[in-house]
Amino acid sequence: MRAPRLARFGVPLVLAGLVVVSGILIPGFMSRSNLTTILLHVSINGIITLGAVYVIITAGIDLSVGSIVGFAGVLTAATLTSGAVLHLLGPVGAAVLAGVVGVAAGAAVGLLNGGVVAWLGVAPFIVTLATMTAARGAARLVTGGIPVGYPDPSDPMQAQKIAALNALHTVGGGRLPMPGLPTGFPVPALVMLAIVALGGFVLVRTRFGRHVYAVGGNEEASRLSGVAVGRVKLATYVISGACAGVAAVLLVGQLRSGGPDAGMLYELNAIAAAVIGGTSLFGGIGTAWGALTGALLIGVLNNGLDLLGVPSFWQEIAKGVIILLAVLFDVWMKKADARRRAQAGRAAAGG
C-alpha cells in the first residue's frame, strides 16, 4: 500500500503556488536575472536557517545568530582593513584570514552558547538571549558604533584596503559565469546550496545526525542508550554559530562593510524559515531541505512584494499573514496525511 506522503509537500506546494502567482502577476519576476537575484538574497538567511534547524531539532533555540552576524561581521571587516594584516599578508591573504576570523568568531559564540546549555543546564532561550545582547554590544564596542569598511579618501592605505575589500567581494558579491545567465550565478547562493547539501547529508547519513534527532526526540532515552547528549547539543550550537559566521563573512563581502547593527532580527527570520520548512519547535523533526524551502518562501515573498512596490508597512502585514497561512496549510496537509494513513490502515485490516 503506497502511503500518500502529502506532509512532505505542503510547504513546497505553497512555494510553487507563490512562484506561479507572482510569475503571472509581476512582470519580470520570472526573468532569469530576477530568479538568481532571489537566490542571492535568500543565501544569507538560508545558511543561518540551516544552523537554526540543527539547534531546533534538539529542542533548543538560538536567538544569538543575528547578533553573531553583526559581531563576526565587524571582526571580519576589521581584519580585512587592518593595516598590520595588509602589510603582512597582502589583500588576498587578508581576505582569507578575515573569512577564517569571521567563521571562528561565530563558532566561538556558538561554543559559549552550547557549553552553558549543555553543561550548566540553563534554558537555551535565556542563554542565547544573553549572548544575543552581549554580542551586539561587543560589535558596537569594537567599532564605536560606526560601520567598518570602505576607507576614507584621506586614508594612507586606501588602495590596499579597497583591494582587500574587493578580494572578499569576489566571494560575497561574486558571480560565476554560466551559460544562459548574462549576469552569472551568485557565489553566496552556491555556498548556501553547498552548505545545505552538506548539512542534509550529515543529518541523514551520519551517526552524529541520527544522534541530533534522538536528543530532540527523547533526551532521556538517548542518554540511557549511550548518546553523549551534552556533546551533541554543544555541537549543534557550534554549527549554528559557525553558519552565522559564514553568513557574516558573505554579507561583509557583498556589502564591503561590516556594520555593528547588521543582522538585526535575522534570528527571527531564521526561526520563521525553519518552522515554515517543517521544523518542530518541540524537537525531533526537521530537515535541511525544509530549511531551504522555508528560506526560499520568505525570499520569494520579499522579492515579490518589493517588485510590486507594496509599501513597507503593508509588506510586513502581508508577510505575517502569508507565513501564518503557509504553516496552517502545512498543518492541514499533515492532518490529511494522518487521516489517509489511518483509513488505509483500517482498509487493510478490514479487507
Binding site: L25, D152, F329, A336
Partner: protein
C-alpha cells in the same frame, strides 16, 4: 467518504485564501507604461521626514510624468542593497537612494553603475560609487544655525550635551556645524556627546535620563533630530528640570507644538523635506532629458522658534526663515 472531502475542502480554502490575499496587490500594479520608471529606496518609511520627502517626490513626479516605485530599507543595509538589485533587474531608468549607511551602500551603487543606471542620492550622501547628483539639506549650515541660536540663549556660557547619531553623514555634518558655532563661545562647554541608537525617541529619553544623572549642571541639549529632541524633552520634564534648554532638528509638527507651547524645547532647525523630494525628482527629470545637473543640490535650512511660529499663526508666509 466524508472525512477526506472535508480535509480537501479546508486545503482548498487555504489555497483560495492565499490567492485572495495576493490578488489585490497584483491588481494594484499599473499596466506597463512608457513613462520613465524611477526606483526609490528610502532609509525608512516610518519617519515623518521621509514621508514628507516622499510626498514631495510623488507630487513632482506626477506633474512631470514619471512613474515612481518607492520602497524602504528600514535601517537594514542588506535589505536596501537587495532593493537596489531589484531595481537593476527591473531595468529602472534611474535609482534614487536615501542610504541606510553612507559607506555600506557603495557596493550597491557600483552595481547600478555597472548596469549603466544613473544613481541619485537624497538626504544622506554615499562615500563612493558614481552618483550623478546628491540632493540634501545644507546640514552643516543648519547645525551652525541652531548652535548660534542656543549660544545666544545661554548668553555665552553653560554646559551642553549632544544627542548624536555618529553613523549618519547628515548628522555628522549637523554636529560639525553645531560644534563650530559653539567653539566661538569659550564659556560654553560640550560635556557629553551620546550616540542615540537609530535616533529613536525612547532611546534618546533613556540617554538623557542618564545624562541628567551624570551631569547635574547641564544647561542645554542639542537633539540631532526631533525624536532625540522630544525624547530629551520627555526626560527633562520627568526629572522636573525645566531650566534645561533643548534645541532640535527637523521641526516636525510635534516639535513645533512643543516650541509654540513655550516649554524647554526652544528652537528647531527646519529642513524642507518636501522641497528636497521635489528637487530630487526635478534633477532626475532634467538629467534624463540630457541636461547637465550639479553634483550637489543644497536645499537651505531655516530655524523656527516661538516667534516665527507665532508669525506663521498670524498668516505670514514662512515655514522657517531661510538662512543666508
Amino acid at each position: 467518504m466524508p472525512q477526506p472531502s472535508a480535509v480537501s475542502r479546508s486545503r482548498w480554502a487555504a489555497v483560495v485564501a492565499l490567492a485572495v490575499l495576493l490578488a489585490p496587490t497584483g491588481c494594484a500594479r499599473r499596466a506597463a507604461s512608457t513613462r520613465p520608471q524611477i526606483g526609490v529606496t528610502l532609509l525608512t518609511e516610518a519617519h515623518v521626514f521621509y514621508q514628507d520627502l516622499q510626498r514631495g517626490m510623488r507630487a513632482e513626479a506626477d506633474s512631470l510624468g514619471l512613474d515612481l516605485h518607492v520602497v524602504a530599507g528600514e535601517w537594514d543595509l542588506a535589505r536596501q542593497t537587495s532593493q537596489v538589485e531589484n531595481f537593476i533587474t527591473q531595468k529602472m531608468n534611474a535609482i534614487i537612494i536615501a542610504p541606510v549607511d553612507s559607506r555600506g551602500i557603495v557596493s550597491a551603487i557600483e552595481e547600478a553603475n555597472r548596469a549603466k543606471i544613473p544613481v541619485f542620492t537624497v538626504d544622506i550622501a554615499s562615500a563612493g560609487g558614481h552618483v550623478v547628483s546628491h540632493i540634501a539639506s545644507d546640514n552643516e549650515q543648519g547645525g551652525e544655525l541652531v548652535g548660534e541660536y542656543l549660544a545666544k540663549l545661554l548668553h555665552g556660557k553653560g554646559n551642553i550635551a549632544i544627542l548624536d547619531q555618529p553613523t549618519l553623514t547628515s548628522v555628522i555634518d549637523r554636529v560639525r556645524g553645531f560644534r563650530e558655532a559653539i567653539a566661538k563661545y569659550p564659556g560654553i562647554h560640550i560635556v557629553a556627546d551620546a550616540a542615540v541608537d537609530r535616533g529613536l525617541r525612547d532611546v534618546a529619553k533613556n540617554k538623557t535620563d542618564n545624562l541628567l544623572q551624570a551631569h547635574p549642571d547641564l544647561n542645554a541639549i542639542f537633539g540631532s533630530n526631533d525624536d532625540c529632541a522630544l525624547g530629551a524633552l520627555a526626560s527633562v520634564r520627568a526629572a522636573g528640570k525645566r531650566n534645561v534648554l533643548i534645541v532640535g532638528f527637523d521641526a516636525t509638527p510635534e516639535a513645533r507644538a512643543a516650541i509654540a507651547g513655550g516649554g524647554p524645547l526652544k528652537a528647531d532647525a527646519i529642513q524642507h523635506p518636501t522641497t528636497i523630494g521635489r528637487q530630487a525628482i526635478l534633477t532626475v527629470y532634467r538629467y534624463l532629458h540630457g541636461d547637465t545637473v550639479p553634483p550637489f543640490v543644497a536645499v537651505p535650512v531655516g530655524i523656527v522658534d516661538r516667534g516665527t511660529l507665532a508669525q506663521q499663526a498670524l498668516g505670514h508666509d514662512t515655514s522657517g526663515t531661510p538662512a543666508h
